[in-house]
Symmetry: C2
Subunit: 278 residues, 2 copies
DNA sequence: TTGACAGATGACTGACCGGTCAGTTATTAT
DNA sequence: ATAATAACTGACCGGTCAGTCATCTGTCAA
């Protein structure tokens, strides 16, 4: 990722968070970056693809940090607290951009963005689940769905306060406080309210959703519009043709996929294709 | 409120909730209503004023219903549950439009809308506070801010589920479940985390904010653009002149205010002026 | 010094949107 | 039946914005 790209991402995310996506023009973004409008289109295919990159940039950071707490040598309670601290820090740092996107119904990119959002949600959910089980034992399994909703709600509630009082809150103290509240809730649990299916139907895709070839073909068509590299385009076309025939040859596809190493724009698609092949 | 206006409000709020405010053109709204674009401007001064009317329409309903639970002859616990049920019902009914607005940073009307939003938030906060105090006693007073944030978060969390599973959830059961969780939390409370000031600074304006004559004059100027009725315009101008002099005569203003009975567009302003006179 | 080329620029284009208004149709009054 | 009024229509306008492209600039090898 070039410096220019990162500069644009940082500035644009600030503006989007402040004024919203639609209300921020490309001109404003480039003015803030001190570059020309045309130069913007050297780094990003479109305003839409910038949004996608921003989300990718931030969500990958969040996912990475959440993954890192398992490397720490601390107890389950401290790990749980750390989980909250990371969410507070990242979301306060990147302003409410992520929140804005998670909330705003008007996501310009639907097909592509949804994958990333689900990825992030699933990662967060999985982390929450394992942390809760480690801390409170297997007994709470049937309450998992409710706990996740309640926990998510509480975090969102406090994040709103954090956003308005940027940096002036004691995240560690807050994390400790929240875990204490969860203690109380877990102690008082009786009969669950939500069933797992309700959450699953909630667009959260917690399990492994199966991907159809048609969906993949659609996504390939979209990604083709986003990339300029000739070699990658050829590879995509080969994959496209291969997927179109009934008995597609797996080695051909997986071979082609090796051409996409270290390319951010196709990362999502490649992940899906790999999952599809297995 | 005419049938046409209500039709537009209902259809537009659906579209806004689905696609966002900016992404929904007036043409789309009028197409959905089966009327012409020009006809839209017979009912509403602008797209912006439609948004204001929608918010007014829904928030007044919510506030009214929350007020009604105090007339019911039920215990404090049932009343608390009823408070949640109303929120679930109204917000599920009117889709996530209200949520969208509460979240979206890009509210087109800032000056006017903010008043309505604060009104609603204050009403909700006051209700929560009195319900909590009635149910758990005065001891929880110092925890009020935290409880309000936690409670609001939990409600929002479940509302997201409700929106995706429209109508298929047992609101009464959910309300009961949530109150049980609050029981646990209240039982386990130790030291509060948030102070009242933090919430107050959060744009929530829980106390009585004082209004300056300048702010009022600004708002009058804005409202003048919105209304067409000649008599009301004259009344507004008289109020404007009166407020501009240092020793304004209260009776003159309150007299003029009587001309605004049953006018929706000036409702907010009139309320503020009345508060200012007292 | 030159020429060639990648990177950067900003004037320009076409699409779209909020809002207007001259003209049409429906309704009511005389 | 006719006039008067109200309700409605959709072409049109000014303005904005995403995206394009002819042009420029700095660099560096020959």
């Amino acid at each position: 990722m070039s410096d220019k790209k990162i500069l644009i991402i940082e500035k644009a995310s600030e503006l989007f968070a402040k004024n919203g996506f639609d209300a921020t023009s490309v001109q404003e973004i480039t003015d803030a970056c001190g570059i020309s409008k045309g130069s913007f289109y050297l780094s990003f295919k479109s305003k839409e693809s910038l949004l996608f990159s921003i989300f990718e940039y931030f969500s990958s950071k969040l996912i990475e940090r959440i993954g890192s707490i398992y490397q720490m040598e601390i107890g389950p309670r401290e790990r749980f607290e750390q989980f909250f601290v990371i969410q507070f820090e990242e979301i306060a740092r990147y302003s409410d951009f992520i929140l804005m996107q998670m909330r705003e119904q008007t996501n310009p990119i639907n097909e592509d963005m949804l994958g990333l959002m689900n990825d992030m949600r699933r990662k967060t959910y999985e982390a929450q689940e394992s942390l809760l089980l480690n801390l409170y034992g297997e007994d709470i399994k049937e309450h998992m769905t409710d706990l996740v909703v309640i926990l998510g709600g509480i975090v969102k509630g406090y994040i709103e306060i954090i956003v308005f009082n940027k940096g002036s809150l004691d995240y560690m103290g807050l994390a400790h406080y929240i875990v204490e509240r969860i203690d109380s809730i877990v102690n008082g649990l009786s009969k669950p309210f939500l069933t797992t299916e309700l959450l699953a139907g909630n667009g959260m895709c917690l399990g492994n959703q199966s991907v159809t070839t048609e969906e993949l073909l659609n996504e390939i068509k979209l990604v083709k519009k986003e990339i300029a590299d000739e070699d990658l385009l050829i590879s995509l076309e080969v994959i496209e043709q291969e997927l179109s025939i009934t008995n597609y040859r797996k080695p051909v596809i997986s071979g082609m996929l090796s051409n996409f190493k270290n390319n951010e724009q196709t990362e999502q698609l490649v992940r899906k294709l790999k999952k599809f092949l297995n």
